[in-house]
Symmetry: C2
Subunit: 765 residues, 2 copies
């Protein structure tokens, strides 16, 4: 795998730091310095006027617009795109001294530094602006997106004249009609506005979906700061002349209050009333507001932190990954999911994919089970949409969408929307995974079983029987590897379909024993019959899995081995990404694959395959994989570690933790690869930690990369938090909270308690 | 095959006749009564105001608009739709008596009859309108689209008051901004206008493609008719008060003059000057104008007519088919092709498909070789576009588009545009077919060889080699059967690719002998190397053709035999057309096929397969074919005749000749299935005539359906016209013009001259 990085930020264990303004990286920085709190996301754009390259974006999780195409000639072809829409916000400023406007695209500044601190969630930017007449002024901007009061974002503006006294004009603006860049238009109309004192607000609505948004802001003057109101061009802006004195710092604090019920039915008066109430409750003081968020992060890091000694670059990478992931989702805002780019950009339209269950869920399962449960509950809550989707595909049961915000299918490339079923099997796997790891049966009992039944119905209705093969299988599908578009008997889909049906039957049988009345009632409500269950068993039993006993290779799909071969190492680097430089259909007709497919089900059901099978399939498929999916390297790193291919594993890992920090995919400007950041966590815990959670017992196979002095990570298992520390001297495993528990390490069972167990060192070599 | 017809027109050997106005069929009638002359097409809409259901359309061959979508994320994905645009015209009328307007949707009329005469090309409509006060008036409208002066359309309006005298208001209108119904907008803007005497005109331009159109009209008063000009609402309309007298017929004649260079660069003044000159040259007299066209048709029918005795229904059907086909294309207007719906509606956007070479070309080859040559020259003229298209697909050479007006790819369903290559092999086949049948080497020499070389380049660059199979083949293709979307080693594509390369090499070798200097020069210009030719030979030699020696079955594509089986007879009739009632992807994942695929190459290269092979493949594939393509039944009928399955053949044939007259596909309202009408001709000549033209010698295997008293058809072979007449008493074959020639009939060679040969009868039983 050849990918070139591009690093311009300072390496630091707890922060990302930009020294000197890197104008040419402005959009990349906006992505990297993005702040969010699961509810609101705001790219790291400058608050003041900036006329250079910029992708400004304020996003509210699950607040979306839609675009519907007429495809009435065809049934089941998805035609409605939902996209997280760029929203009005109140972080914009205009700053000027004697009519000269501050715009970093036009004026030169000195001593520029921007930093984002993962320990506090605080974004700070400071620089000195020198006017032509020699007057120099330091500006410092601080910003924090509130992790406790999740409709609040706080902004601090500090102005320090270094060699003069006088006045600075400072306007606190509201962006009322933001441009959605991908769609080249705004989707917002102002429905009401108002103001009082140093506060203003407006109520806006999206054009098509009619979603309401309250945007309010209030300005506070910090101790010793004097300012005078001046007229504003727009009713919702707040303008001031700030008196500044040489060597002294004038400091102002604004809170942006963004509140939305996402409910199109809610009327403007109700939206306004609730917003104004929240706005009136605000109290000034940036430091106090920032402390809430700082405290929140301190608490979070206690259990999730991963400490790498001897490798500051990856230390920074892994903390950045967790910080961004936790900003995007932590289970606090009901009904939300994890978009492929989180709340950091318009790309992928804010839609959630099967990445949620497959890559993100393990992180939450082992750090915040309640948040993990929320992700599965999201799927249960969207069952009606998944049932509708299955119908549109001439099937029954529930087909979960390949891309979604509101539970409906939002992928408008029909070949993906109609042919990919890994979201459905991923949901089943997630229920099984959650139940096994947490020991919490209530999710399965209350919601999971219904999902399993509906998913099984879909899987059993979409499957087809071949008389010639005397077997079932899925025809006309695309597996996880999107470079084989429309194939028959994709090994992943068939295998996962089989295992999903088996688990559903097993869970149902168990609940019939433990909760007979409720289980029977559910079966009745869903018209479940014994004939249907027999059919599921029959399909599972006779599912065709393309496999050669001789070579121990799974065939990615029937016919894959006969495909023309492409030497992926001979593809010029300039051809990547292939979608831009290869004719669309050319990508799909050779043995090159984009991302793991056979290896993916071998990872999910790791314990079901021998080491030799894993080795042979890894050695066959990895050289055919171009890793054009940002999720691919981590999976391969985890495999390589299990197979003892340490150098290869380390190379993949380096890519995973710093995919955005080093902009390996050349598109960090569009937003972060949020779900790939989750895969980076898996790369540590499943890779170097060797965690396996697909069997009855949790397994650990820790190994320390020879490049590191130590590695320490934590996992929450039921009510205990276990921390594992690897050094060249030994391997220490202990609980830091909760009762002692059993863990299997390197094939042996241990009772792990707070005093820990001291095991030998294992260093990759 | 179960298809239900819906017949409301009278059966007549030379006409279609509607007795009484069938309001519910108004759009179907507009299609069936369409008149065109290869240049202009006009649906059979009423000239006067009609507020009922109507799809009005005036079309100019190859005058098109475009619609471009942004698909910049993907290379090679077609994104530009060209569509034959609904054009301004001057056939519209407004007719009223004392302020009461004639509108057949609102007023009742008596004695309505509409008829289209294939012998004269004349459309006549007549009825009596009775006013509330008892006044009755006969109206008669005649219309003819000029087959000689192809920018002219003539209209006659006759008014006969039956029981009163007075005045009729008659306005000759121009439709200046016609609505394009599919796109729900007009694409026309008026750029200039003018008038003099009883003539008016305007110059219009299309919005996107800037194509010019001159629309002029001139009104003439036929002998004994008095009319007074009155003011018009629009400058380009002509309004009159016509004095009418009881029992006498007032008669007016208007000529619509539609002229377009289709050249976006031509300026308005030039367009206007040429149009006005043509307009000034017009002479009145509807009868004289109509005679030109009537004479033209008389001459045409002499050689092409097919006479069926004892079956008036199919007699009408086959003449209607030929009449409509010849209206659409006869080689008189350079640069035109044959749209799937001719010039009869907006459906299929006026685009030409591989139907041209595969279904229409034989008709012209054997009736009007010059017109056949024109179709091939169209492909040569569009080589630059086909070369561009191959490049967009990361190939070299020329890839002919699946749908086109101007030579560029106009199919915006990428899966068809990127994966179907039968247009390219069809062009190669057409060159070979033309050259063999006509004996005319000049097309091959002057243009054909260049096309063959570029097509071969494409075929040899799109093919891929499988190490496992040790063979070449096409991966990721859709064959002619559009129900198997993206398959490997489609037998049709592989077979046709192989034969195309072989023919190109053979033709090149021959021309190197007969025209060494010119052939070398061409090779130099195209940088043709011996290595390239060796590669073509290698590809042809090692092409994989999926075939089982044991069963003698060709497999439609690798894996087809393993597909789940669908019993097509169990599909409810209401499910058709499947695209509307089945989920899109569901259609593509079973062994059901839409149209012949294996059978198609077995028909084209008929002489290369044994009767037993044909029988086995027909018996295997026909029961899996739902014939959702209108072209499918004729091919199966031809096969069934060769196999002696006469009843089956007759059932298919009945469908073919009357597909539109009986509206079998329930969409004649959108326009005629023009290319299927060509297949109906093949069904007679290749089917009942048993003509085979794929070998060195022409073969005939005529057989008379037992339902008929006689069948007579003609074919032009080189400079002779041969007519074949089958009766239960005998089979007579003779030339009616040109020298004697050799023909093989039922396996024996005969010398056929003007005195003919008398052979035994052969009647299907």
């Amino acid at each position: 795998m050849q990918k070139k990085g591009d690093r311009y930020l300072e390496v630091d264990p707890w922060r990302i730091v930009e020294k000197g303004f890197h104008k040419e990286q402005s959009k990349v920085s906006e992505s990297l310095f993005c702040l969010s709190n699961e509810n609101i996301g705001f790219r790291g754009s400058f608050e003041e006027t900036y006329s250079g390259e910029s992708l400004q974006g304020a996003y509210f999780n699950s607040l979306y617009e839609e675009k519907v195409e007429d495809r009435s000639g065809y049934r089941g072809i998805s035609n409605r795109l939902c996209f997280m829409v760029n929203c009005p916000h109140a972080l914009k400023l205009r700053l000027s001294i004697d009519g000269q406007e501050l715009d970093l695209a036009k004026v030169a500044v000195e001593d520029f530094q921007r930093e984002l601190d993962f320990q506090t969630g605080l974004l700070t930017r400071t620089f000195v602006w020198k006017l032509g007449d020699g007057r120099a002024t330091r500006f410092t901007f601080r910003r924090t997106v509130d992790m406790v009061m999740r409709e609040q974002v706080h902004q601090q503006v500090q102005v320090t004249p270094l060699n003069w006294s006088g006045a600075v004009a400072l306007e606190f603006l509201v962006v009322d009609e933001p441009l959605h860049v991908n769609q080249k238009r705004t989707y917002w109309q102002t429905a009401a506005s108002g103001g009082e004192g140093h506060a203003r607000w407006l109520v806006s609505r999206t054009t098509q979906t009619n979603m309401p948004l309250f945007t309010g802001h209030a300005v506070f003057f910090e101790a010793g700061t004097a300012a005078q109101s001046t007229p504003s061009a727009k009713a919702w802006d707040l303008s001031y002349t700030v008196t500044v004195e040489e060597g002294k710092t004038a400091s102002l604090h604004r809170t942006w209050l963004g509140d939305s019920s996402r409910n199109p039915q809610e009327d403007n008066a109700a939206v306004e009333a609730r917003g104004v109430k929240l706005l009136r409750g605000l109290q000034g003081g940036f430091a106090a507001a920032a402390k809430r968020t700082s405290d929140y992060w301190a608490e979070v890091w206690k259990s999730v932190d991963i400490v790498i000694e001897g490798d500051p670059v990856n230390q920074q990478g892994i903390r950045f990954s967790m910080f961004q992931l936790l900003q995007t989702y932590s289970g606090a805002v009901p009904g939300t999911n994890i978009g492929a780019k989180g709340l950091t950009g318009e790309a992928y339209n804010g839609n959630a994919f099967w990445d949620t269950e497959t890559y993100c869920l393990p992180f939450y399962l082992f750090t915040n089970p309640q948040a993990a449960r929320g992700l599965i509950e999201y799927r249960h809550a969207t069952l009606p949409q998944a049932i509708e989707r299955a119908k549109a595909l001439d099937c029954i049961g529930a087909c979960f969408p390949i891309a979604t915000i509101d539970g409906t299918e939002s992928c408008t490339l029909w070949q993906h929307a109609s042919l990919q079923f890994q979201p459905t099997t991923a949901v089943v796997f997630a229920i099984q995974h959650y139940t096994r790891v947490t020991g919490d049966q209530t999710l399965l009992e209350e919601k999971g079983l219904e999902v399993l039944i509906q998913a099984s119905r879909f899987l059993a209705s979409r499957v087809q029987y071949s008389e010639n093969l005397k077997a079932y299988g899925y025809y006309g599908v695309m597996g996880p590897d999107e470079f084989q578009m429309m194939v028959n008997h994709n090994a992943y889909t068939n295998y996962m379909g089989k295992r999903s049906l088996e688990y559903a039957l097993e869970a149902l049988a168990a609940l019939r024993k433990t909760r007979p009345a409720q289980t029977e009632a559910l079966g009745k409500r869903l018209n479940l019959t014994e004939a249907e269950l027999s059919r599921w068993q029959d399909v599972a039993d006779k599912m065709f899995i393309p496999y050669s006993k001789e070579t121990e290779l799974f065939e990615q799909h029937v016919g894959y081995f006969d495909l023309p071969h492409v030497d992926i190492n001979a593809i010029p680097e300039t051809d990547f990404p292939l979608y831009h430089s290869w004719s669309y259909d050319r990508i799909y007709r050779n043995d090159m694959i984009k991302q793991p497919d056979v290896l993916m089900f071998m990872l999910l059901y790791n314990g079901s395959f021998s080491l030799e099978q894993k080795r042979k399939n890894y050695e066959f498929y990895e050289p055919r994989t171009i890793h054009e999916s940002s999720l691919s390297p981590s999976v391969h790193s985890i495999f390589a570690l299990e197979l003892g291919r340490y150098q290869e594993a380390y190379n993949f890992f380096k890519f995973a933790t710093r995919i955005d920090l080093d902009n390996y995919n050349r598109n960090t400007n569009e937003g972060l690869h949020t779900t790939a950041l989750a895969a980076a966590w898996m790369n540590i815990v499943y890779g170097y930690g060797g965690l396996r959670s697909d069997g009855e017992q949790l397994l650990l196979n820790p190994v320390l990369p020879k490049e590191w002095q130590s590695l320490e990570f934590g996992v929450r298992v039921r009510s205990s938090v276990v921390r594992v520390k690897l050094t060249p001297q030994g391997t220490n495993i202990k609980t830091v909270s909760g009762p002692a528990l059993k863990l299997n390490v390197w094939g042996k069972d241990y009772e792990i308690g707070s005093s820990g167990v001291e095991l030998p060192a294992k260093v990759a070599s």
